[in-house]
């Protein structure tokens, strides 16, 4: 099963196994990973599952769509490597993925 590492804004790492086909957001919720709220439940309507994807992984993830980009406008301190974790679907290619949660999502 692919391993996903969730890093808090102050650097604490939490690596969990997430079944392929689930989103990085769902992986966090199922494993009680803090920092990902996902208030809207994955309908791309709230931006509370906002994460920063480490540079070396950014191009391995499916490209960002307009609707996700629009929603990221609402997120706390979005950066160039910002994504909504409900839109990143875990696959074997993403084994080892590292994402960081922003300051305001704790």
């Amino acid at each position: 099963m692919p391993k996903i590492t969730y890093i808090t804004h102050d650097g604490k790492k939490n690596t969990v196994e997430v079944p392929t086909g689930l989103s990085v957001m769902e992986g966090a919720l199922q494993n009680n990973v803090k920092g990902i709220d996902a208030d809207c439940g994955g309908s791309m309507a709230c931006a509370t599952c906002h994460v920063y994807v480490s540079e070396n992984w950014l191009n391995k993830i499916e490209k960002i769509h307009d609707a996700e980009q629009d929603m990221l406008d609402m997120a706390y301190e979005p950066k160039k490597n910002s994504r909504l974790s409900c839109q990143i679907i875990v696959s074997n290619e993403l084994d080892g993925l590292e994402i960081t949660t922003p300051v305001k999502q704790t």
């Binding site: 208030d39 309908s43 309507a45 709230c46 629009d70 406008d73 301190e77 305001k104």
Partner: protein, 338 residues
């Protein structure tokens, strides 16, 4: 004090359909919501997005769904108490007494919490200093635009609120519109008007920039913004308007002594009652094994909760199940002509 059979907290689709289910079994209700209109997430988060999984409605938007539900519950003449949040809840004998932040007091044997993920609040700036200027120089909504006259204004955001207010306030002020990327997601025609104003010099657009600090001690004198490439820039500002949409907060519900599990309220699936007798939870805010956060699930949950409310509202009457197709009682309640 307003006395009724059931008080519904939350006027989203689940709360609205609960009005209907209470109404057809002859119970009165009052409905309270923190937003200024009914519809909840449907109307706030995705009014224009199509929904495809409402039974028998192949496709409808959040706004259409809300309007249809409002039409469906109209015969029951439930009172809507909008723009207010329930702050306190306490039990007196067998009745629940609720108080809102506007001072309205309600009393009923039943409370149905259909609060979604909580009440909506504006998403605020992350900078710590922002707090001390909030309401005096930093705003998340506009209640009275006159206070902005002849001020230097910085507006943050890329959606309709930011664009609309940039246009409106540019009539009387110097406006800087700041957004984290070059694309705006607001309506195309508003954007073209804003671009026109930029050419005329009454709006200055700064993209891709984000705010990094607020300057001034007792009075905010300016802000510092950062370009995507790291370059910093200072802007003299009297007022900041920030439009980053809404965020959902569970709010006071968390302090009512209800069992809470990850921001949701566990219920039994026969009555949708919480750990408190006479308080029910339905829709996204409730949880039970197998719970799906679907609008259709909220409808089902409301139907069962309404029947459970009957026993507490009319303890001396026997509830009898009736179909809307055949029941004269229900037809009367719907106001149908004989």
């Amino acid at each position: 004090m307003i006395k009724t059979d059931a008080i519904i907290i939350g006027a989203g689709p689940t709360g609205l359909f609960a009005v209907h289910q209470l109404g057809i079994i002859g119970l009165k209700c009052e409905i309270i919501d923190n937003l200024d209109r009914a519809g909840g997430q449907c109307i706030e988060l995705y009014p224009d997005k199509p929904i495809y999984d409402i039974p028998a409605i192949p496709e409808c938007t959040g706004e259409e769904l809300t309007n249809s539900l409002l039409k469906q519950v109209a015969p029951f003449k439930a009172n809507f108490h909008l723009n207010q949040r329930v702050e306190e809840i306490k039990k007196e004998n067998n009745l629940w007494i609720l108080k809102t932040n506007k001072g309205n007091i309600f009393s009923a044997p039943n409370v149905i919490i259909a609060g979604g993920v909580g009440s909506f609040e504006p998403r605020k700036l992350t900078l710590k200093e922002a707090e001390k200027f909030e309401g005096s120089q930093i705003f998340y909504s506009v209640a009275n635009k006159n206070i902005f006259q002849n001020k230097k204004i910085s507006i943050f955001g890329g959606g309709d609120s930011a664009l609309d207010w940039a246009l409106e306030l540019s009539k009387t002020n110097k406006v800087t519109l700041i957004h984290r990327r070059s694309e705006f997601r607001g309506a195309a025609h508003t954007l073209s008007e804003v671009k026109q104003k930029e050419k005329e010099g009454s709006i200055l657009i700064k993209t891709p920039y984000t705010i990094t600090s607020i300057e001034g001690d007792k009075i905010m004198t300016g802000i510092e913004i950062k370009h995507e490439d790291g370059k910093l820039e200072k802007i003299k500002t009297d007022c900041v308007l920030s439009f980053f949409g809404l965020i959902m907060k569970l709010g006071p519900i968390a302090e009512w002594g209800l069992n809470i599990d990850k921001k949701t309220i566990p219920v039994n699936t026969e009555t949708f009652q919480t750990n408190k007798e006479g308080i029910f939870a339905i829709g996204d805010i409730c949880t039970y094994p197998g719970k799906l956060k679907l609008i259709l699930s909220g409808f089902h949950e409301g139907a069962l909760a309404a029947r459970a409310c009957f026993k507490r509202a009319k303890p001396n009457e026997t509830y009898r199940f009736e179909f809307t197709t055949a029941s004269k009682n229900i037809h009367d309640r719907l106001g149908l002509k004989k």
